[in-house]
């Protein structure tokens, strides 16, 4: 099977070349035969990569240790489900996955594009094919998952235990759908520039594909945070680690793009700006992929840890130079069709939004590459730690939240002070009352108060928007439910967007509460002893152990009492994984977690003494962390409202 996989990959490589050439010729000479042929080749690439992935999966499931990739990432005691997820656990496999996802997106564009024409789509195809060529090149010649060893080991190295977790199974997949997905809107933009057809279509299609990628990125980021929270055992979920930042930056510029794109769709303005944002987001997605793989930022005094580094840099430079170059070449066709009606308008709010998102992305970028730059410039590696990112991003974030609240209250094109005063009065007064209330309730930390009040403000404006919108429809005779559904389906972007904003608000509330109000304590307990933290009391009844196929587990048994009422057991674990392989990491702690909407109780067994039966525990209470995950679900729901097509209705054009 490995042979089939290997050959499929090479064949896909050649086909990618073919697509580039035939698309180019098809576009230049408006040759339909070449265009059809190239589109068949695109579908073939997807088929070949699916075959390759299935082959690799087969080798992983059957534990064919003769294959280097299988030997590095599996072992005989690895459960079947993780043999499947090991497909993307290692570099070669994850690159194959990248190629596969790109080819699937690529195939989808040939199947779903309703505005096909010979002047434009071929250039879109050509662009995607160039990106595909690079990545397929990597898995064909540099990191081939089908490489064989000159011998067959008896046992593989096994999969890192912290990757053997449901979240680590889906999180990379989700993020990849996001990273890879940005290629498509980018290609539509390039297609517009290369063909010179920078009019109506490309932005609509870019936006439709982009929001899909954005949704995957958002969910992927949250899944990663949840994984970190559950598996890494420090009670936190985000450390501004270079790899985390790598995924966050394209999300920031991408969110800016989603907003400013609306201005282009309505008024034909900001075309250059949107093109720049799109190119930048794509660049950041590729850069993010590169950062995660090359180890360039993590260690002291090392640049390329693998030969992939320089190749990526070369490719990224090529992309940047080429795309900005062609943008300059076509800059005349990107001129604005209109001018702004007024500075007091939603357009202005959106531009302000863009500036802030870009500022945040820039700050995160600077913080992440600081060590590389400082070393290049001064020979000494200097870094800025977690506090830097928080110091910069918290103020920016708070202003953005306020903007989320202000946006809906200002109309497009032009707003007057009179209407603004009318619209702002109720939410502002309610928010101030809310603020006073929470301060009296005992919350005095400034950041927390500002954050909560801002979130309340946003929520109130969204509720008012929905209320008003529903009223308008009810005046036309609809009942409540019909009014709501018609309102949403007629204005999906707006009302779906509001739902996404509520999701963000929930996430921010969760972040604020867990950052400002968490308590932590470390202690050593002996059998029978109890301890309290907040409203929780735990009684330590002793150590226990059990054995499974994969591990030897030691458990600390704790009985939990919430407000003096018995509420279950907490069983934090420390495990030793039995590997027949020779992996260095075999220790793992399993957190005992009890989550409610109010807070999370998080207990880690840091050490134990089997002679005395004592246990060392770290206990953390994290308020409202669940709101983060709940907010993520709301965000997803809002995104689906926007993405899913509305049921075909007869839209009356009665203007």
């Amino acid at each position: 099977m490995a042979e089939i996989g290997n050959i499929s990959v090479f064949f896909a490589f050649f086909l990618a070349f073919y697509v580039i050439i035939s698309s180019f010729l098809a576009g230049k000479y408006r040759n339909e035969k070449l265009f059809r042929s190239s589109e068949n080749a695109i579908l073939s690439i997807a088929i070949l990569l699916i075959i390759a992935a299935v082959c690799l999966l087969h080798e992983l499931l059957t534990l064919n240790f003769n294959l280097k990739y299988v030997a590095l990432n599996t072992s005989t005691d690895l459960p079947v489900v993780y043999r499947i997820t090991s497909l993307w656990a290692g570099q070669a496999g994850s690159l194959l996955l990248w190629c596969l996802l790109l080819s699937i997106y690529f195939a989808l564009t040939t199947v779903t594009d309703r505005y096909k024409d010979l002047e434009y789509k071929p250039y879109v195809n050509m662009t995607i094919a160039v990106v595909a060529l690079f990545f397929i090149f990597l898995i064909s010649f540099i990191e081939n998952p089908f490489d064989k060893l000159s011998f067959t080991p008896q046992e593989g190295r096994g999969l890192n235990p912290i990757l053997q977790n449901a979240y680590m199974a889906i999180h990379p997949l989700c993020l990849y759908f996001g990273y890879v997905g940005v290629t498509i809107p980018f290609a539509y933009g390039m297609g517009a520039l290369l063909s010179g057809k920078t009019d109506y279509n490309w932005i609509k299609q870019s936006r439709s594909w982009f929001i899909i990628a954005w949704t995957f990125l958002s969910v992927g980021l949250l899944l990663g945070a949840r994984w970190a929270y559950l598996e890494l055992g420090w009670g936190g979920y985000w450390a501004w680690d270079p790899v985390e930042n790598a995924a966050f930056m394209p999300w920031l510029t991408g969110t800016a793009f989603l907003h400013s794109v609306m201005i282009q769709e309505r008024k034909g303005m900001l075309k250059k700006w949107n093109m720049i944002l799109l190119i930048t987001t794509f660049f950041l997605a590729i850069f993010g992929t590169f950062l995660t793989r090359s180890g360039i930022v993590n260690s002291v005094h090392s640049f390329a840890q693998s030969n992939i580094g320089p190749l990526f840099m070369g490719f990224i430079s090529f992309i940047l130079l080429f795309s900005f170059g062609i943008m300059l070449y076509r800059s005349k066709s990107l001129e604005s069709e209109n001018s702004f009606d007024s500075i007091l308008s939603r357009e202005s709010a959106f531009i302000f939004n863009n500036l802030l998102f870009l500022a945040a992305a820039f700050a995160v970028l600077i913080g992440t590459v600081f060590p590389i730059i400082s070393e290049a410039v001064s020979g000494e590696k200097i870094l800025v730690g977690e506090p830097f990112f928080n110091k910069v991003n918290v103020p920016i974030g708070l202003v953005l939240i306020l903007l989320m609240g202000v946006g809906p209250l200002i109309s497009w094109r032009k707003s007057s002070w009179k209407t603004m005063r009318k619209n702002f009065t109720v939410p502002v007064i309610l928010s101030v009352i809310f603020g006073i209330f929470i301060v009296f309730a005992g919350i005095t930390e400034t950041v927390a108060v500002i954050s909560y009040v801002a979130c309340f403000f946003v929520t109130s404006t969204v509720v008012i928007e929905y209320y008003r919108g529903i009223s308008v429809r009810r005046d036309k005779g609809d009942n409540f439910i019909t009014a709501l559904t018609t309102l949403i389906s007629r204005n999906k972007s707006r009302y779906g967007g509001y739902i996404i904003h509520i999701g963000i608000v929930l996430i921010v509330i969760g972040i604020t509460s867990s950052s400002v109000f968490s308590h932590q304590t470390e202690l050593v307990v002996n059998k029978g002893e109890s301890f309290t933290i907040g409203k929780y009391k735990m009684v330590y009844t002793g150590l226990n152990s059990y054995v499974t196929d994969a591990k030897n587990a030691t458990v600390a048994d704790l009985k939990l009492y919430t407000n003096d009422k018995y509420s279950g057991e907490m069983k934090p674990e420390k495990n030793i994984y039995k590997y027949q392989g020779n992996r260095e990491i075999n220790q793992e702690t399993e957190v005992a977690l009890r989550s409610t909407l109010i807070d999370d109780l998080y207990v880690i067994l840091t050490d134990f003494n089997t002679d005395t039966g004592s246990a060392s525990l770290r206990v953390i209470v994290n308020p409202m962390i669940t709101w983060i995950w709940a907010g993520g679900l709301v965000l997803l729901f809002g995104a689906l409202v926007i993405i899913l097509p509305k049921r075909k209705k007869n839209e009356s054009n009665n203007v």
């Binding site: 280097k68 800025v384 020779n582």
Partner: protein, 140 residues
């Protein structure tokens, strides 16, 4: 509509300046050197009590638990070695020969008091050297 455009440009400059200042200030407050053990020792005595980050490998046999709940160990870069006294969360993979990163201060008694400990993140992309090292052992 030059006046309108001016307003936008002024607003943009204002935002850019504010953010620029914010970035500058935060960077200045949170910058730390990232040094090898040897570089740390070379920078004495200026480096005493200055917050820095140091990377090195854990010298085998040197990990011990202090009576005050702290973790004591030595790290080296092959050229120089330093004693570390650490209080805080210990990553699962921390043990002999692991590559560790500590952040804290070196005091006059030449002990590095750290409050942050990272052990080299278990990357997904490890080398295959191990396979070859154990080739003779595993291949019956």
């Amino acid at each position: 509509m030059l006046k309108g455009k001016m307003k936008f440009i002024v607003a943009i400059i204002l935002v850019a300046t504010t953010v620029g200042y914010l970035v500058y200030g935060s960077a200045r407050d949170t910058m730390v050197y990232y040094l090898t053990v040897n570089e740390l020792k070379e920078k004495k005595p200026r480096i005493y009590n200055q917050r820095v980050r140091v990377s090195g490998t854990v010298v085998p046999g040197t990990i011990e638990k202090g009576s005050d709940g702290s973790l004591k160990f030595k790290i080296t870069d092959g050229i120089q070695t330093v004693d570390v006294d650490y209080k805080g969360i210990v990553p699962d993979i921390f043990k002999d020969k692991v590559e560790a990163v500590v952040e804290g201060k070196l005091t006059k008694d030449n002990v590095f008091y750290a409050d942050l400990l990272l052990a080299k993140c278990p990357t997904k992309y490890e080398s295959e050297d191990q396979l070859y090292k154990n080739k003779n052992v595993t291949n019956g």
